[in-house]
């Protein structure tokens, strides 16, 4: 039995020995490098561009500008193809552009023998602009007569509204109290370790091979075909080992360009390897949200109505566009299902870097607003925030309002109770009473979330698995599920071993993805991978197991049902007595001259369910008022993600997510110059990702439920841990200081301004700190 066991990652040794090969490790003879010539303004149009001097520089192979690229607009979002014309991504991008929509927009590209030459050539390109006032603040973007960043768009990428659980306006009228709040989240960036990198070459007259660090090899293949107007089958995408993505590689950023360049350069290999600075402003970011929330509730703490109004800013191009605000609205709706909800969202363009998919896809923004508002409501009536939540949260058997489906597994109340115990809520609440004045204050905070296990019914959920019994009695697994560091290959191996009855070590998952070979799967995003692959694996492994047992019958002349698989052997089902080894069986199947054949099984499975997941964060903070700093004493995340397939990997996901959440809460923000659209801090010195010693000890716990729609009872876990640390920390700081900080991040600069405004900065100063 391998599921739920503490097994090592299947790629652990390859990674720690440095043998795992990443995109940059692949060498092609004569490979050229390409560098973008990026705009130095945020909004405008190129009047003239002159690349002649640059072209003459020795070592420069070619230069292309917006004039030489196909006039085909394409959409970059890494979504499955949609057969519904109303549900297509916005195609608003050309390979290179004359119209400048953010600082760093791609005007031209230099191809050279190395990076040094390419960088020198960039300096020799002459360009003149017609400049427009950068549209950065929503008020300016939506003002009557504002320039359209994309013609005909009115600067709006998408808009929708839903109402469920009754009429919100009526429910608000029936409430004892109604409170309002406005919450703002900033532009943050994924900061995956491996920057975006791709290269392409041709291995035949008409076939393009792309090697790329991507979460979505199969989707990338389709979009490259669309962008260059060539048949999909002429494109092959290979994904080697990857150094993370967090959604930023659920987007087609470099692949169409490297494919274009190799086509233009006679099939010669061309690589684009973005610098960190380019990666931070020239790829994707998290959408900044402005959220208004109205909450109606009764004296006893029952919430009866919630109205949310969301403005999401997508930047210069749509990318994932309005899908992010839409997903944030629907996945959060499971949390408090017994009240009337209205959700209205709009997504707008702006002359800032492009936002796309990022871990938890809209939910961190929406849940931050929602859980700040919930806290404010609990405090308004002086009710304990845990009790208030317990009264209102979702329970197993509730019907999800947006989908109308019954929630089959939900351990959220146990999560809250467990977290309460682990943080010592009651004891510390009392103890911290005496730390509500003076320079150093203490407080506790909580926040909870709901999320989903995929994208169905918005997108198709399809997963493919192929199993092959090797001649030595082990099994090779090919999956379309894309390993990007999250550990999906390991849990797939566990699932296969579990159902086949094989030892875990005898299951090998083929690591690299290759669209010519790998079964179809849309890729790693939406925390979907383990959930959507589970039923495909279960079916494929069950079928291979049947074939193996049938073959044992064929070999021995015994009747069906007589045998079982235990570890490496076929044994008698009744007595457990040894019959033959798997290797003997496999060799026979391959080499017996009359019977058998290679034993394989292949399944492509569509998932038509989407299990909600739940969890919460508890946090204990110390606020140093004179220094304007928040110190986290303890943080606990408790998750209901169904059956935990691998406790160590699951813990790793939670730890990574919580640290990302702490960064979002306290320090991370891409700072935009409001006049020019310039990003001040697109580097890892000035963009403050917490370092190892900035993080407290991170505690996690699982409340294991069994999700019946999943092959192995598991639900999603990849993204959710990032969602609740920011609101929980905000609520704890509020508990400690009485100050509501309704914009992220809660950086010292922001605390300084708010503490001053609220009279907390003692002008005389106290020495006893």
């Amino acid at each position: 039995m391998a599921v739920g066991k503490l097994v090592n990652r299947v790629d652990a040794v390859a990674k720690v020995t440095g043998r795992a090969e990443y995109t940059d490790d692949f060498y092609r003879p004569d490979m050229l490098v390409a560098k973008y010539f990026r705009s130095s303004i945020a909004h405008g149009r190129v009047k003239e561009i002159n690349v002649e001097k640059a072209r003459k520089l020795p070592g420069v192979e070619a230069i292309f500008t917006y004039e030489q690229v196909p006039r085909i607009k394409f959409a970059t979002a890494g979504h499955p193809f949609s057969m519904d014309p109303d549900h297509k991504d916005v195609a608003d991008r050309l390979l290179l552009t004359r119209n400048i929509r953010f600082m760093g927009d791609e005007i031209a590209i230099v191809v050279a023998e190395d990076e040094i030459v390419a960088n020198k050539a960039l300096k020799l390109i002459e360009v003149s602009y017609e400049e427009y006032k950068p549209l950065i603040h929503p008020d300016d973007i939506l003002k009557q007569g504002a320039r359209e960043i994309h013609q005909g768009s009115s600067n709006i990428v998408g808009e929708h509204r839903y109402e469920c659980g009754g009429k919100v306006d009526d429910a608000l009228k029936g409430a004892d109290y109604v409170i309002k709040g406005e919450y703002v989240t900033p532009m943050v960036q994924h900061c995956h370790i491996e920057n975006h990198i791709s290269f392409a070459y041709m291995d035949d007259l008409d076939r393009i091979v792309i090697v790329s660090s991507t979460q979505i090899p199969h989707i990338a293949r389709r979009i490259v075909g669309e962008a260059l107007d060539i048949p999909l089958s002429r494109v092959r995408v290979i994904k080697p080992f990857m150094g993370g993505g967090f959604g930023n590689k659920q987007d087609v950023v470099l692949e169409p360009m490297v494919a274009f360049l190799t086509l233009k350069l006679d099939g010669r290999a061309v690589q684009i390897n973005l610098s960190r600075e380019e990666c931070m402003t020239g790829t994707r970011t998290r959408h900044p949200f402005h959220v208004q929330v109205k909450t109606g509730f009764l004296k006893d703490g029952t919430m009866v109505a919630r109205k949310m109004d969301v403005l999401s800013v997508t930047g210069g191009y749509a990318s994932h566009g309005h899908s992010v605000a839409a997903a944030g609205g629907s996945k959060s709706s499971f949390l408090y299902p017994r009240m009337a909800i209205e959700y209205h969202a709009r997504t707008i363009y702006a002359n800032i870097p492009v936002a796309g998919a990022m871990r938890a896809y809209g939910s961190p923004q929406v849940i931050y607003a929602l859980e700040c508002a919930t806290e404010d409501a609990a405090r308004f009536i002086g009710m304990d925030p845990i009790e208030f939540r317990l009264k209102n949260i979702v329970r197993q058997g509730d019907v999800a309002q947006v989908t109308g489906k019954e929630i089959l597994s939900c351990g959220l109340s146990q999560c809250l109770l467990k977290g309460k115990e682990l943080i010592h809520w009651d004891r510390k609440k009392k103890e911290y009473e005496k730390y509500k004045t003076g320079p150093v204050r203490r407080g506790l905070g909580v926040a909870c979330f709901s999320y989903a296990s995929g994208t169905y019914p918005v997108c198709v959920e399809v997963a493919g698995v192929r199993l092959v019994l090797n001649q030595d009695g082990t099994v090779h697994v090919q999956v379309g599920a894309t390993e990007i560091g999250q550990g999906s290959d390991t849990v797939v191996a566990q699932m296969v071993a579990e159902t086949l009855g094989f030892p875990f070590e005898n299951v090998r998952v083929v690591q690299a993805q290759d669209t010519d070979v790998s079964p179809f799967d849309t890729g790693a995003y939406a925390s979907r991978q383990a959930y959507v692959v589970s039923n495909a694996v279960f079916r494929a492994a069950t079928s291979l197991r049947e074939k193996i047992l049938d073959y044992a019958c064929l070999m021995t002349g015994e009747k069906h049902g007589k045998f079982d698989i235990v570890e490496e052997n076929i044994v008698s089902a009744d007595s457990g007595k040894f019959v033959l080894t798997m290797k003997e069986l496999a060799v026979d199947s391959f080499y017996h001259k009359e019977r058998g054949g290679q034993l394989t099984s292949e399944v492509s499975h569509k998932t038509t369910t989407n299990a909600p997941v739940f969890g919460c964060t508890f946090v204990d903070v110390l606020v140093d008022i004179p220094l304007c700093k928040v110190k986290i004493n303890k943080i606990v995340n408790v998750h209901d993600s169904g059956v935990i397939l691998n406790p160590v990997q699951a813990g790793g996901q939670v730890h990574g997510g919580v640290s990302m959440g702490i960064g979002a809460a306290l320090s991370e923000e891409l700072l935009i110059d409001p006049e020019t659209g310039y990003i001040f801090n697109n580097n890892l010195l000035d963009y403050k990702v917490p370092t190892f010693i900035d993080l407290p000890e991170i505690n996690h716990e699982f409340v294991e439920t069994f999700e019946p729609t999943s092959g192995y009872g598991n639900k999603s876990l990849g993204e959710p841990p990032v969602i609740t640390p920011p609101p929980a920390i905000r609520n704890a700081v509020l508990d400690a200081t009485g100050v509501s900080i309704n914009t992220l991040p809660m950086s010292p600069h922001k605390l300084f301004a708010l503490f001053k405004k609220n009279g907390l900065m003692d002008p005389k100063g106290k020495a006893d700190v």
Binding site: L685, F692, I693, H749, G765
Partner: protein
């Protein structure tokens, strides 16, 4: 990939001086943790280098016969942290060293490079200011000594003459014996960050009286600085909580931080005042003062 034209490895200080004389455009590189950043940014003034990283005569910490502590400019911060001499006599310099970068950076970054780089945020600078450190420089015309406070000329500019190499820092006996100090770095992160404000305090007490008091800041002005007015005001006063408040108040008049997108002047002044109290309090505790 760096666009390096020349990288000349020097085996001795004298050879380094000679290489600098023969290659007028060349710059010194020690640990390279500042130089390589500039090279990566494509700054062409660093494309010819004289590498002094492996010069053994720059790597030492010793106590001379006159009891001066002398620190070779090529000492990396991780070695300074481990030095028994520094730990025993000037622990505040260990604190400064520990606050710099992360382990990898501290293994490469030298104290000489930190000061010669000339930036106001250099973490070792304010401590060296409060210790009245003397810089020993060697050039074509021989050796000269200069107090650290005279070495800084302006942001990124130091008093290094043509072909000069900083060889060592000297802290004389009367500047460390009987002194207690503390370095407090305030940054947005606890590692891998530049100081928003760095504050070093070094003091001497007798019978509850501040006999000597030195306070220096990084990022409180264009170059690291001592707060002379504050020092004058508080020397010979009785140690008390009120004294800490008085220091915080006067120190504001000594400093001149600026507003940048990284932090506002007002925010920095708040931190400057608060750190003066916290660093002084810590140093007083070390001096055995109770109040």
């Amino acid at each position: 990939m760096f666009d390096l034209k020349k990288n000349i490895k020097a085996e001795t200080v004298d050879k380094a001086i000679k290489h600098l004389a023969e290659n007028p455009d060349a710059k010194l590189i020690a640990g390279g943790t500042d130089v390589l950043i500039k090279l990566r940014q494509g700054k062409s003034e660093y494309c010819e280098l004289v590498d002094i990283h492996d010069i053994d005569e720059l790597k030492f910490i010793r106590i001379d016969d006159d009891k001066s502590i002398v620190i070779g400019s090529g000492m990396v911060f991780s070695k300074i942290i481990e030095s028994d001499i520094i730990k025993k006599h000037i622990p505040m310099l260990c604190e400064a060293a520990e606050s710099l970068g992360g382990p990898q950076v501290r293994n490469m970054a030298t104290i000489g490079g930190n000061i010669c780089n000339g930036v106001t945020s250099a973490d070792s600078a304010s401590s060296l200011f409060t210790l009245n450190a003397i810089l020993i420089l060697k050039g074509e015309d021989g050796t000269r000594e200069i107090p650290i406070s005279d070495f800084y000329l302006g942001p990124g500019r130091v008093d290094l003459k043509k072909c000069e190499v900083l060889t060592a820092f000297k802290i004389t006996h009367d500047n460390y014996q009987g002194y207690f100090g503390h370095y407090y770095k305030y940054a947005m992160r606890d590692a891998m960050d530049i100081a928003t404000i760095g504050c070093a305090v070094c003091l001497k007490t007798k019978n509850g009286i501040l006999k000597d008091y030195r306070i220096a800041y990084g990022v409180a002005g264009p170059v690291p600085m001592r707060c002379r007015e504050t020092e004058k005001t508080v020397i010979n006063k009785k140690v008390s909580k009120d004294l800490l408040d008085e220091i915080a108040k006067t120190v504001e008049k000594d400093v001149n931080p600026r507003t940048s997108w990284r932090a506002s002047r007002e925010f920095r002044i708040n931190i400057i005042k608060e750190l003066s109290k916290r660093a002084t309090k810590k140093a007083l505790k070390r001096a055995g003062e109770k109040f």
